[in-house]
Amino acid sequence: MADMRDPKEIIAARVAKELKDGDVVNLGIGLPTMVANFLPEGVNIILQSENGIMGMGPAAEKGKEDVDIINAGAQYVTVNPGAMFFDSATSFGIIRGGHVDATILGALEVDSHGNLANWIVPGKMVPGMGGAMDLVVGARKVIIAMQHTQKGAPKILKECRLPYTAIGVVDMIITEMGVMEVTKDGIVLTEIHPDYTVEQVQAATEAELIISPDLKPMV
């Protein structure tokens, strides 16, 4: 029977399984933020927010907001016991210094070398890179969580066409179709969602996928 969940939920739930108890994690805005809702029982992670929080909690309840505490998406949030606030230099020292175990973010394009493009579409969208360049260079593990295609057009390419966010930084790509690991030989499909065939995943991917001999169902 087909998976009736929203593709974003499928992706967020699978990403959550990559995180270990005690990991320090930075979640990007949008789909990556949903990952926190799917953590397995007994896995508690420490969320870092680049605007200056270690130990970020859930969004603040309406009427109970502390107006001095926001996340990097400018939403009111709470902090957990044991949290710390810091300035932006300290925050990015934590990020660049390799003290963040995993960063999870979206992409416009990823390629077979682990290059990432997610900050600019020249002539169309110039929002700025914010903290993305530092995060992908500094975090120990970079997981791209995104829908497999953009309205049918592949986003996992042989070579990125948009300007890079960083080169050779992506470790893993998780989409509604499957789980892929970036290796020195290329992108390896390690898990596939039961609703799709290998042929369908390859057809939606410009880069040539290496199919793991140990290919598992994505659950």
């Binding site: 001095d68 926001i70 990097a72 110039v126 700025g128 890179m129 260079v137 500094g138 300007p163």
Partner: protein, 226 residues
């Protein structure tokens, strides 16, 4: 002790046309709105503004942008203020905005370097991207880094939660962001603060910016609201 307490109008009176100004805040959280309002009223023009982002229209740095006071904006993210793109692409020469995008961690570290007397910093961020264009790449022990130069300013407008009459300042929660860095990197620092207290009222363990950096203190800053 020299009196540093003044009105917002008095504090910004010395800001000249063409000045370079650092402004604290992240999405206007930790931005001194009363100082920005006074700067809009004074209508200083052709400013170079260094800040994390462009705020949103009608908030934070967005107010200076709407009033056409910014010539050059140095920031990491401008996507939540559509006016930036409009002004970058306008055909009206006097409204034309130059926008220089800097990775957020690099921006923070360049400001810190400016305040700390460093000649620059070496960062792996941006290597192999358009951020590296025109910059020196230095290899240290097998890894490439970009040489990023320090940033300094004529003025810094920062926002405190509690400030004593000497200028010692505490920032609550995530209002801290770029404020303590900018306080060290400008020739003249103006603090817009929510509460002014007597010297000695803030435990030295809790002071985040020393009063030695602060030239002017303006009270009446309001809690941030989205």
């Amino acid at each position: 002790m020299k009196n540093k307490i003044m009105t917002a109008q008095e504090a910004v009176a010395r800001i000249w046309d063409g000045a370079t100004i650092m402004i604290g805040g992240f999405m206007a959280c930790g931005t001194p709105e009363i100082l920005i309002d006074a700067l809009v009223e004074k209508n200083a023009r052709n400013l170079t503004i260094i800040c994390n982002d462009a705020g949103v229209p009608g908030r934070g740095v967005g107010k200076l942008l709407s009033n056409g006071q910014i010539k050059t904006l140095i920031a990491s993210h401008v996507g939540l203020n559509p006016e930036v793109a409009q002004r970058m692409n306008t055909d009206v020469p006097e409204d034309k905005l130059e926008c220089i995008l800097v990775p957020q961690g690099t921006l923070a570290e360049r400001i810190r370097a400016g305040g700390a007397g460093l000649g620059g910093i070496l960062t792996p961020t941006g290597v192999g991207t358009i951020v590296a264009e025109g910059k020196q790449v230095i290899n240290v022990d097998g890894r490439d880094y970009l040489l990023e130069k320090p940033l300094k300013a004529d003025f810094a407008l920062i926002r405190g939660s509690v400030t004593d009459k000497f200028g010692n300042t505490v920032y609550n929660g995530t209002t801290k962001n770029f404020n303590p860095l900018m306080a060290t990197a400008a020739d003249y620092v103006i603090v817009g603060t929510c509460e002014i207290v007597e010297v000695g009222a803030i435990d030295p363990n809790h002071v985040m910016t020393s009063g030695i950096f602060v030239g002017a203190i303006v009270g009446g800053e309001k809690p941030w609201q989205i």
